[in-house]
Structure formats: C-alpha cells, structure tokens
Point group: C2
Amino acid sequence: MSGTGRRVGRPRAEQRPDRGLTPRGELLDAAAELFTTLGFGATTTRAVAERAGMRQATMYHYVSGKEDLLAQLLESTVKPSLVLAAALLAQSERPAEARLWQLCRSDVELLCGGRHNLGALYLLPEVRAERFAPFHRMRAELKGAYRQLLHRSRPGGGLGAAELALRTDLVFGLVEGVILIRRSDPDRPVAAFAEATADAVLRIAGFPLRDEAWGAPAAGA
Amino acid sequence: MSGTGRRVGRPRAEQRPDRGLTPRGELLDAAAELFTTLGFGATTTRAVAERAGMRQATMYHYVSGKEDLLAQLLESTVKPSLVLAAALLAQSERPAEARLWQLCRSDVELLCGGRHNLGALYLLPEVRAERFAPFHRMRAELKGAYRQLLHRSRPGGGLGAAELALRTDLVFGLVEGVILIRRSDPDRPVAAFAEATADAVLRIAGFPLRDEAWGAPAAGA
C-alpha cells in the first residue's frame, strides 16, 4: 500500500499520521477524500475519524462535525485566491489585464492542484444551508475582484454595468468550469492548463492573446 | 400550495398527474427535484415514488431504481445537443464557426433551461460507476463534435492536435461551466446568457465577436 501513499482506515489512536499534518489537517484530508469519492451524504463522521486514524470522540475536539469539515474544505478552495486578489487589486501600477491573467492562473492552479477535486463539492444541495454563508460570501468577494480587474482593464473600462456583470460571469464560469474538466481528466498537467485558461479569460475579456497584446507576464509573477 | 405549482408527496395511485407527463416522466421529474434539492444519496426510491404520486411497487414497472433514474436524467442533458451536433456536422456548406456558435447557444439553453439544474449531478461520485458509461460516452461524443467544429473553423484549422484538444477543453469547460453559474444565480434569463456564452466560445476559438467577423446568424438558426 505504501507505493500509492494511501492508507486504509484503521484506528491509530496513539500513532500520529506520517504526512506531517495536524490532527485537524488529517481530518480535513480524510473528509476531502471520502466526500469526493463516496459522497457527502454517504460519509459518516465515524468513517472520517477512522480514515484519519482517530477515535470519533477525539475528532470532536477538533471539528464540530461533517458540515464543519465541508465548510472548511470549501473555504480552502477560495481563501488563497482571495488573498492574492486583494494584493493584486492594490498593485495599481500594473496593467489590470496582467493582474487578471495572474489571478486566473493562480485560481485554476488552486482548483486543480489539491489531491482531491474539492470544487465538485460546490454543487452539493447541502451547501445551500446557512452554515455555508461564509463560503458563499468569500466566493462572491472573489468574483467581485474579477469584476474590478475586468472593469479596470482597457476593454472592460467602456462596458456598461450589465455587460460587465455578464462578462464577469463568463470569466468566473470558465475558471470554475475547470472543476468539470478536472473531473473528466484528473491527471491533466496543471501548469499549462492554468495558463491556457488565463489566456482564454483575456480573450473573453476582449483581448487577443497576452503575448500579442501586452507581453508575457514576468516569470513567477 | 397550488400557487407554486408544487405538490407535496402524497399517494395518488389512481389519479394521474396534471402536467401531462407520462408515469415515467413524472418519476423523472420527481427524481430531478429530489436529487438536486435533497441530494442523490439522501433520496430514497420511496420518496421518489411518493413525490410522483405513485406506489413504490408501481414505480418498478417503469424504472429499475435510483441509478436508472439518475442515468436517464444525465443522458437527457446531452442527447438533444448530440442530435443537433450531428445535424450541424453534416451542414458542410455553412461556416464552421456559425455552427459552433449555434451548438454552444443551444447547449447552454439546454443546460440552463430545465426546471432543475441537472448538470449539478455531473459531479456526483456515484456517476463514476459502470452504469453511467453510456452517459460518459455521449458526453465524450458531444465534446468530439465541438472539437470537429473547432478544427473546421478558420482559426482552428491551423492548430496542432494538442492545442486543438486544449482549446476544445476550454470551450467545453465554458459551456458546462454554466452549470455553476446557474447554481449561483438560478433566475438568470437564459437566452441572452446563452448567446453571450456562444460569443465567448468564438473568442476562445480565436474569433472576434461574431457580428464583427462573420455576421450574426439568421434568427432562429
């Protein structure tokens, strides 16, 4: 089993996991795996605790239950992009389209990069519940950052509010749509795909390809 | 309750539904509602039968169970687009980009148009099972039609296989990404959004907006 790095669930009340995760991290990883492979509804808290090598009673020291785990997993798919978006919005000396491109690339890398396709959990009916309001607020805030960068870009500056909102939807839809693409093709190399998606976003925004229009962004930017 | 047009589940073994649906159609509609609001895992066959106003034993005259209902619902989100795609591929006298635009618009209208957001079911872990192989084949076939139309379009003709595959993924991802957009904003008017998505697909394909490049398609085309 060690070749795949996956463990089967077995109680390890004393032994700590070997991937350097905190108990909370171990629980989140176990929940991510079970929610995306078995389904949220079909996963019990007991199964999560066992998968994480923990007694069920111990689990409740760290999380309040399945919904708590789901909310944290969902928020983890948005928070890093929100932090980057705030930094990019402040970089008013850089062209907005370069910042938009960078946000898209990073967001796609985040959505495609983890071990589990957490974006697949966005569409669970359970996520409509009040418990997930913070996740929905974060996602709306991230979308707002896309809208602002679009608005500040050269083609976006002349758009009316309705057209800007529509274009923001398309851009955000393309970025989040990678969740569906990843589902069909889980082993796709992420980096080139993230750049191609960011290029496509600029096309939707009204730009030709980035290197034709405003030069490739600096490496590692 | 009649104001909303929704009925609560109650056995109506004799009385037929009032929306003109066949028993099978009634079961599919009930399943669509319950799978998208309550969740697939949390929905019992008994709940589907009750919602459809049918005894559970009667239900098995029409469908073999929950997976059968799910498979039929999933296939219904692809079949009409496949039929259109076959017709469009045969229309070799029309510019490929006009046909690509039409397929996108129609596909988005299909994904956004029904009473329930069935695309949300694409991401269920259960859909990986062998029972859903026909659905996956249909979806792959539809994606193949997009690829062919892209390949036959003027900007697509010069693309290498890898670049064509990548661009097909982006186009297909944008079209299916409307599932996520619809989830966030269920009351969006469909027609304008479908056209805007089709415009965006042409941009990704390497075209400027359709009316700049090759004229708006005929009304009703």
